[in-house]
Amino acid sequence: MLFRSETPNLWTLLAPPTVWALHFLFCYVAGAIICAKAPEALDELRLAIAAATILALVFIVVAGMQAHRHWGFGSDMPPHDTPTDEDQQHFLGLATMLLCALSAVAVIFGAMPALFIAECMR
């Protein structure tokens, strides 16, 4: 089955980049609407993006901690290539953890424009 409690699966693998996608979508959509309809609210928007960024990072860190547990807290290094439940779980844990790191970097990158750009200027 695809869903299983307590063990990683393809959905837990996809969770961290999905958090990135939602964060990105929020930043873009909110930015586009504010700049089109209410440019004076840009400062509030930047605060909202900061909040969304912290929220996204918290999600990713939690997912990362869970993945770290699935990985066996680093007890077993790659390649994770034996046909056992344990290796399958360690592999998924490691891959999820790496995706958490990438997603976190991408979320931070995605928030940087709001840090440096203070106007809607075209």
Partner: protein, 837 residues
């Protein structure tokens, strides 16, 4: 006389004979009826290559025209058709289809599956591709090719006086092919998830499968926005609905969004499958497992996601707010990280291996050299200030060719050299390979390296000629010389592929570790003699005597005693065997279906409405016959001995069946297209002060509510039908299905009545136009839902639907979940959103 015990040799002969008979290729006049992946994959690959060569010739004509300033070899009109068709064909008729083609060809072999789960769907996809491709490509011989660039920006491309029928050919021909691409994606995703050999857990899959999975998922989310865009575009061209007409509230920039939401992921849809080939080739020649398997999964999944956050970097110059530019610039930089990981996994694998530098490795290294360069210029253009200079100049032309030729074409040629022995059974020449590599590699760099400078010295792309004295003359001449050098290398490759008398290939000539190399003699149609249990990422390296035991039929499904084509279905994560799937055999139905559906598209291009409708209806009829005769067939007994002492069911329904997964995946794609239309609605809402604009009323509220209520009841009735079926009340099932059909009819009719009652004329303004498109989309889904209900009803009356055999009904229920969701969204957007503003 007592029956004598069969010896191993006799058993082997009997099984081989059974398999050979069941999987035999159709030949003679029935050749076009083949649906087996080995044949369809080969057709697909060859067709895509022919389109590649055609588009390459167009490029050579362009290079001749640009060789000297003020040239008049071709006119502006012809040149515009040449470059549009070159881009269009390379992207839509070569780069994306070749992924599907190669995957159809090698994936089942890699998974030790006899075929993909829906062989006729593959064949249908191929025929759609062939018909659509010939239609689009052939248009240039009638001076009717599209001529406004492969991204077709309105308002130029929507202007029917400036752009002729070529634009319609582009839109309708490619929409038709896009549908085929989505079909292939569905097929390949289900194939990777459900058709692996027993024991090939998710952590043991060949890396190629990971990429196919990711790319399949990307197609599902990337192509639908373009289909939505195509619908809007074609409605404007055919019926003057003003989606991109500024005077009536439209906006040409919406097309750019929809096109690039597709267009940028597409670049990665092209790139990842080719990198996947490298991920198979590099370990083989490094003679060690890939180093950093988990990292590759990170890279593939990460790239798949991030590539959806880059689309507006093609629009940095349209005057987006600086903040928006920043978001896309950030994501464009971020995507370089997983790509870098990908490259370094290969580098590290080479460093940790004992490398044999054979021809595929030569091309792989060349690919790396070119692609890394293209990636680095990509990092440059991701910075908006630099992009403002480079955009739409020859710098970008150079950049995109570096990424696509380095990231896609060179790996593909490496793949041709690598896989040729297993597909054709012969070896390509080393000597010719070396020559063709150096010609291609040098030619490519001579052609495209100078273009970076040409572009920064101000030469815009898409100009059919240029004045002398701007410093572009010499650079262009060099580029032209390079292009012809590269063409010579490609010519040499084609010659080598086609020339007779090449030596026979031994089994597994490269000593690779993955299962596709079990196939010794490609003339055996069965794919694999018996399906082995797998316990390693490189079974041929790690599992002793595997090749011999597979050949001796010691594993699963060694024969075909019932005379049916069978393949194994396993669990998504652990790959424990779940079912023996019987796949349909050769048939002309996919060809006929593609022919008639394609006919409908082609007739629409020429505004032959009656022919279009007739052809479309016949096409749907053919599909119905196909579904009725070849899907969800009830087996004569519930289970069979699959070999190795395992008995497996022959029938599965609900989420255990491949059909349910295919429906689910298709509806995800369908939902994405719908969301793209909703995106369009809210996009207009953002740019307009009032939406609906003054003087226009939203669709009639009570009618919308009544239509939604009817649809909701129809959905509940479908759920009731499923419940009644599980409880074993066939009469109740029929009543519920009939009720549901009638309710759906009422729901669709009321929904269409709502904007009509509000007096909304789609040509008057963009508001009514987008309202109508959303309403019609939803109504069409209800109509398709009715067709499905009718199909189930017919199945019930014909005794095909029973308590145990309910796959059709379960799939239709799944469809209706999505249809009901679509209706609910339509209600919220069309009726409630105007109240909020």
């Amino acid at each position: 006389m007592t029956p004598r015990e069969e010896t191993d040799t006799e058993r082997g002969r009997r099984e081989e004979a059974e398999l050979r008979r069941v999987w035999a290729y159709s030949s003679g006049w029935r050749y076009a009826a083949n649906v087996n992946n080995q044949i369809v994959g080969l057709w697909y690959t060859c067709t895509a290559f022919v389109f590649f060569l055609f588009a390459g010739v167009l490029a050579l004509i362009m290079r001749m025209q640009l060789a000297v300033p003020n040239n008049d070899l071709v006119s502006a009109g012809t040149y515009n058709q040449l470059y549009t068709l070159h881009g269009t064909m390379m992207m839509f008729l070569f780069a994306v289809p070749i992924f599907e083609a190669v995957a159809i060809l090698v994936l089942p072999q890699m998974l030790a599956a006899r075929d993909l789960p829906f062989p006729r769907l593959s064949a249908f996809g191929f025929w759609c591709f062939l018909i659509g491709g010939v239609f689009v490509g052939g248009s240039i011989f009638f001076d009717a090719a599209p001529d406004s660039g492969w991204f077709m920006y309105p308002p130029l491309a929507t202007d029917t006086t400036q752009t002729g029928i070529g634009a319609d050919i582009w839109l309708l021909g490619l929409s038709f092919i896009e549908v085929a691409s989505i079909a292939a994606a569905v097929e390949l995703i289900v194939g990777v998830l459900k058709c692996r050999p027993p024991g090939m857990r998710i952590n043991l899959m060949p890396l190629y499968c990971w990429y196919v999975l990711v790319v399949g998922g990307m197609i599902l989310f990337a192509f639908p926005p373009l289909i939505a865009g195509d619908i809007l575009f074609e409605m404007q061209r055919l019926f003057d609905w003003p989606f991109f007409d500024v005077a009536r509230g439209g906006d040409p920039v919406l097309w750019q969004h929809l096109f690039w939401i597709f267009g940028h992921p597409e670049v990665y849809i092209i790139f990842l499958p080719s990198i996947a080939l490298l991920a198979m080739i590099v370990p083989t020649f490094a003679r060690r497992p890939i180093l950093g398997y988990g990292w590759i999964v990170l890279a593939a999944v990460g790239t798949g996601f991030l590539s959806f956050g880059l689309w507006a970097h093609h629009m940095f110059t349209i005057g987006l707010p600086a903040l928006s530019i920043g978001f896309f610039s950030a994501a464009s930089e971020a995507v370089a990280i997983p790509t870098g990981v990908q490259i370094f996994v290969f580098v590290a694998t080479l460093l940790a291996g004992r490398v044999i530098f054979a021809i595929p490795m030569l091309f792989a290294t060349g690919a790396l050299a070119i692609f890394v360069f293209g990636g680095l210029t990509g990092v440059m253009v991701a910075l908006a200030p630099f992009d403002w200079q480079a955009h739409d100049s020859y710098f970008v032309v150079a950049h995109l060719h570096y990424t696509l030729i380095g990231g896609m074409f060179f790996p593909l040629v490496a793949g041709v050299h690598y896989f040729y022995p297993f597909i054709i059974g012969r070896m390509l020449s080393d000597r010719l390979g070396r020559w063709s590599f150096w010609l291609m590699f040098c030619g490519f760099n001579i052609a495209f390296l100078p273009m970076h400078i040409t572009g920064l010295r101000g030469m815009p792309r898409r100009v059919f000629t240029y004045p002398e004295g701007l410093g572009w003359d010499g650079l262009n001449l060099v580029s032209t010389a390079g292009a012809f050098t590269m063409a010579a290398g490609i010519g040499l490759l084609v010659f080598d592929v086609l020339r007779p008398g090449k030596p026979r290939a031994p089994q597994n000539p490269w000593n690779a570790g993955t299962l596709e190399w079990v196939a010794g003699d490609p003339s055996e149609p069965w794919g694999i003699r018996s399906v082995p249990p797998v316990s390693s990422r490189y079974p041929l390296w790690d599992q002793k005597n595997l090749m011999r035991d597979i050949g001796a039929g010691r594993f699963f499904l060694p024969g075909a005693p019932e005379g049916k084509r069978e393949t194994l279905i396993t669990d998504v994560l652990d790959a424990t065997p779940q079912q023996v799937l019987r796949v349909p055999g050769d048939s002309f139905l996919p060809l006929l279906a593609a022919g008639f559906i394609g006919g409908s598209f082609i007739a629409s291009t020429f505004h032959w409405w009656i022919a279009a409708i007739v052809s479309g209806v016949i096409g749907i009829g053919v599909i119905m016959v196909w579904l009725w005769t070849a899907t969800a067939v009830i087996p004569s007994r519930p289970s069979k001995d699959a070999g190795m002492g395992v008995t497996l069911p022959l029938y599965a329904s609900g989420s255990a069946s491949v059909g349910w997964w295919a429906m689910f995946i298709t509806m995800v794609g369908d939902g994405t297209a719908f969301l793209s239309l909703i995106f369009a609605y809210f996009y207009y809402w953002t740019i307009q002060n009032a939406f609906p604009p003054a003087g226009m009323a939203p669709p009639d509220g009570p009618l919308m509510l009544a239509g939604s209520a009817a649809t909701l009841l129809a959905w509940l009735a479908v759920l009731g039908a499923r419940r009644a079926n599980s409880a074993g009340y066939p009469d109740m099932v029929r009543i519920a299905l009939t009720a549901s059909t009638l309710l759906a009819l009422a729901g669709g009719a009321l929904l269409l009545l709502a904007p009509w009652r509000a007096g909304l004329h789609p040509t008057a303004h963009v508001y009514p136009a987008i309202v109508w498109v959303v309403a019609i989309w939803t109504a069409l889904h209800l109509a398709v839902g009715m067709l499905m209900l009718g199909y189930c009803l017919a199945g019930s009356l014909a005794g095909r639907l029973s308590r145990e055999h309910d796959i059709d009904l379960r799939n239709v229920v799944l469809y209706w979940h999505f249809a009901a969701l679509t209706m609910a969204t339509t209600l919220v957007v069309l009726a409630l959103a105007p109240l909020a503003t």
